[in-house]
């Protein structure tokens, strides 16, 4: 692998690359995509919850008001962004530590990621979440 990589680096312009002699397991890549998916699913689920429950909507707005400048004017959207970002970054740290030294089936995880992104997108289409929220 290292000889092939060195050859690659001579052929292709690369801004930065880790040591060519060290094979890096793909677990860190899986952690990066799955955590992004989890953050976006969180966004969709939290939004569904705010559409279904006024009390939850106020709680979510309160989360945004804890730290985000202008959150009073931004509304519950500030809390939805906050919770989504927390799950994204938090799960990324946990998954990175857990998976970085493992070599996984990346193709399978890419499909999981695509399905998750598709579910998040569908849940965020207003006619869908309004229907599920009982409106």
């Amino acid at each position: 692998m290292s000889g092939k990589l060195l050859e690659r680096e001579r052929e292709v312009e690369v801004a930065w690359t880790p040591s060519a002699s060290r094979f890096i397991p793909n677990g860190a890549a899986v952690a990066a995509i799955i955590s992004a998916m989890l953050g976006l699913i969180t966004l969709a689920v939290v939004n569904l919850g705010t559409a279904a429950s006024k009390a939850f909507n106020e709680w979510v707005h309160g989360i945004g008001k804890l730290w985000m400048p202008g959150a009073e004017g931004i509304g519950p959207y500030s809390g939805k962004e906050t919770l989504s970002a927390l799950v994204w970054i938090g799960s990324w740290i946990v998954l990175h530590v857990a998976l970085r030294s493992r070599d996984l089936n990346l193709g399978r995880w890419l499909i999981v990621f695509l399905v998750g992104i598709g579910i998040a997108t569908t849940l965020l289409w207003p006619p869908v979440f309004e229907y599920l929220a009982g409106h």
């Binding site: 990066a32 955590s35 004017g73 890419l110 207003p126």
Partner: protein
């Protein structure tokens, strides 16, 4: 001494000189506009004109960078990419512009959803509720998809470097993520532009 020696010289322009040229060009254009045009009229009369300018600027620059990134993502997918360094850089710049567009979008959102009757949301709810209830609400959420997607792509490209090139599924993964982020960018950009055209903040 060979008179053609200068023709054989192969020296890349430094990043500092490139930044200087770009700075001078943008500075000259801005100075010309500010000296000759009614700048406030250019921004618009709405209360949210300034955040709208920053939000639109960040989104527009992101669209430029994202378009080139999409092309390089396709080259990565096929395994025939030479400008890998450019893709590493563009993925990072895309993530930065995505973050800036979201931050300025938050600022603009305050004016969009203001309670007074002149705010865009009040106007849409009174005249065209479907624009707010479906298109704007969808736009505000899917615009957020671009940040984790571009950050994940940039992370993989820098963390694995040239190792991405010889690993088929890693190439596919980065290419798919960048293509998806471009899709979400274009939908959010299009809906945002349409909403702004109907009722600026």
């Amino acid at each position: 001494m060979n008179g053609n020696e200068h023709l054989d010289e192969r020296r890349e322009a430094s990043t500092a000189s490139l930044a200087l040229v770009v700075g001078i060009l943008i500075g000259s254009a801005l100075a010309f506009v500010l000296a000759t045009a009614p700048f406030s009229a250019l921004l618009g009369a709405g209360q949210g004109a300034v955040p709208a300018m920053f939000h639109g600027l960040a989104a527009f620059l992101y669209l430029f960078v994202g378009t080139i990134g999409l092309y390089l993502a396709w080259r990565l997918w096929t395994g025939r990419i030479r400008a890998f360094a450019d893709l590493q850089l563009l993925a990072t710049v895309s993530a930065t512009f995505s973050l800036l567009a979201i931050v300025f979008g938050n600022w603009l959102y305050i004016y969009y959803r203001a309670k007074d009757s002149g705010s865009p949301r009040s106007w849409f709810m009174a005249n065209m509720p479907v624009v707010h209830k479906i298109f704007f609400e969808f736009k505000e959420f899917i615009a957020l998809f671009t940040l984790p997607l571009t950050v994940a792509a940039a992370f993989i490209l820098w963390y694995y470097g040239a190792q991405v090139l010889d690993r088929k599924w890693m190439r596919y993964t980065v290419a798919v993520i960048l293509a998806l982020s471009f899709f979400y960018l274009v939908v959010a950009f299009g809906l945002g532009a349409a909403v702004t055209k109907l009722k600026p903040a």
